[in-house]
Amino acid sequence: MTTNSPVDTMRINRRGALKFLGGSVALAGASGILPLRAALAEARRGGTLRVSVQNHPNDLSPFNTLNNTGFLIAELLYVGLTRIDHKLQAAPDLAQSWEANDKATEFTFHLRPDAKFQSGAQVTAADVKASIDAMLDPKTGSGSRSSIGPISDMEVVDDLTIKIRTSSPYADLPIAIGDMRMKIVSAKVLKEQGVKGLYKDADACGPFKLGKVDIESKLQFLPNENYWDKSFPYVDALELRYYPDLNSEALAFQNGEVDAMLETDNATFTVLKQTPHIVPRRQTTARFYSLTMRFDREPLNDIRVRQALRYTLDRQAMVDIVLDGYGRVAYDNILSDDYPYYYQPEKPTRDIEKAKALLKEAGHENGVSFTIFTADRPIGRMKVALAIQEMAKPAGFNIEVRRLPYDEYLSKVWKKETAYVASWGMKSTMDGYYTSLMTSDAPWADTGWNNKEFDDLVAEEQRTLDPEKRRELFRKLQELTNRDVPYIIPFYQDYLAANWDYVNDYEMHPLQYTHRLERAWLSENAPKR
């Protein structure tokens, strides 16, 4: 049923490429040069594209990457079995097509016949199996091990066919397997050198291969001649430069030392918006900061206190203050309207009296005190905590805010402390949020909610394939979360980036991990280097 027709036509003409902008709102630069103009023009080949990123990768293994730079490198060097498109559906990558059985427990993937490693070797089902095996091996230590679905076993049918079975029904497997770390690597490398072989320059099958490597300073990528789609990449070379300091990155971009910033912050974005010839790029996403509140700790175990807190927040003000307006208001729903079964039973607005009444009801008429913990990265965590602290004050919330280094946060706060600000990226499936964070047996169950009714509904939703029934189940689930308020989620944060107007056609994806830089090209007015 969840069959995907072989849509090889994704690689298409320029007009079609427009689709990749998806939900992104390409803002016009002050110069009046619209990205549309570039989109209409004929793609030009050649040139070197320089892109700034904030970190340098730890190593080159796609399985073990920790930061956005690592994800980007994985995308440049490797391909996945599937990829996730802008509508959060699975799209072909190495697999041209796939089909599932009716119970959604067995999936058959058909690989492209023309996929080759840099070394010239054919990419086969054995490579896929070896890659997934390596990912599932706890010793590999991949952060995505539990994200790619409940895979129980695999069967190599022939060179171009692989069957993947799951231990329980899992309709979203083709999406989950498109995880940013789940790249297909060479079985030969794994066999000869183990996972270690991937830490350095290893045989891969993506659109680029490594050029000059200076891992602490900059990385150069050159076109991989063996990449199956001979039209890409357009550029002759791609360079990643690291700027750990955000001001230094912004200035490097403004000076033209780099052509594009793949991610930027609100403050810089606001400045860049006013600069001629710079194209600011803004993409809505469903990523969010949550105030995570433990159900097993006083005083937030009382649902009335949680609800009271909801009514103290001026959510639009939070979007303005924390995000400089670059985001969408949320009403504590872990799902956003980007997902098909989104349902918002209630849209709480700031109502101090109501909050006070709820607190009084809970026996806290003299106010309630607790600490919100945050970590030192990303920056927004702290701001969310401060905003909540300040906004909740009039209702009688006496909140202390403490910031810890990330590792201390992980070891002492996360899943332990009464309240803390967590940060989550957008997930490819609705079910993914619930099963990873909110069910009693979720690997990262961070609220300790342990709600039987919720667990049962999730289990049922997973078994259910009928869309209308699923919609109903998800409605019930969202009503439950609206009632018990495991998280305060004030907004969904936009994803911001910028490039000079001569850079065209790379992707802004809501999941942020996909850029498709092989499709980027430089106009004639690009500086010659």
Partner: protein, 276 residues
Amino acid sequence: MIRIITRLWSHPIGRLGLIAVGFNLLLFIFGPMLPPYDPEAFGFTARLTGSSLAHPFGTDEFGRDVLSRVMVGSRNTIGFGVLSTLIGTTVGAAIGIVSGYFGGLFDEIVMRFADAFVAIPNLLLSMLIVIAIGVSTGNAILAIAVSFAPSIARVARSTTLTIRQTDYVKAAEARGDSTGYIVLREIAPNVMAPVIVEGTIRISFAIMLGATLSYLGLGAQPPASDWGLLISEARQYMLRAPWLVAWPGLAIAVVSIGFNLLGDGLRDVLNPRVRD
């Protein structure tokens, strides 16, 4: 004390230092008492505004009044610098004096460890300590104190070695005075001059280090108004709202130049070679 102050006053650099430190003292005492606004109150309507009559130093990203935050922050910042230096200096001086006076194997061991501590840059050492014992202002004070103590100990020790050879210490030993009296009464007060000079200058180092720890997320915690924290938070807006960095930066510069000038003045005033 009064003699030293009058001497400082007649010393050009010392006088500037006295003025600046006096100003800091006023800030320390009165700064937190008179802020025009609640330094933690958000202002939703006026965010990231520049200087105006209502907000002479402008407002930050939460619309908080920067002048108020700088004023309130003075006590935290100056207190932080003085306290961490005081602890580090006292402990360091005690170790240095004892080690220098008794000498021998004990001295050898203590000094090798002091050398080893000194070989690790202050910032690095205090970073590691803070991360190890947990991030808080108190721990940052402790960490900076620990990173200062060894070099102070070396200063105190070398002075002690000189003092130990003086006739008055010899005389005390000759008349059979107790070790305690000799160390506390005969040696310690004489070691203090260079230690105080060193300590005064280090107050500004401590403020810098504290600010840098805050920049790295290891120092004072928001929403406190510590100047270093103000700067490190404001750096994000540096291209858009440079005054957010400028005002607390200026405040730090005034304080730290003040203590440096005072320390240099003290060095001259307390130095017998330059005296008269």
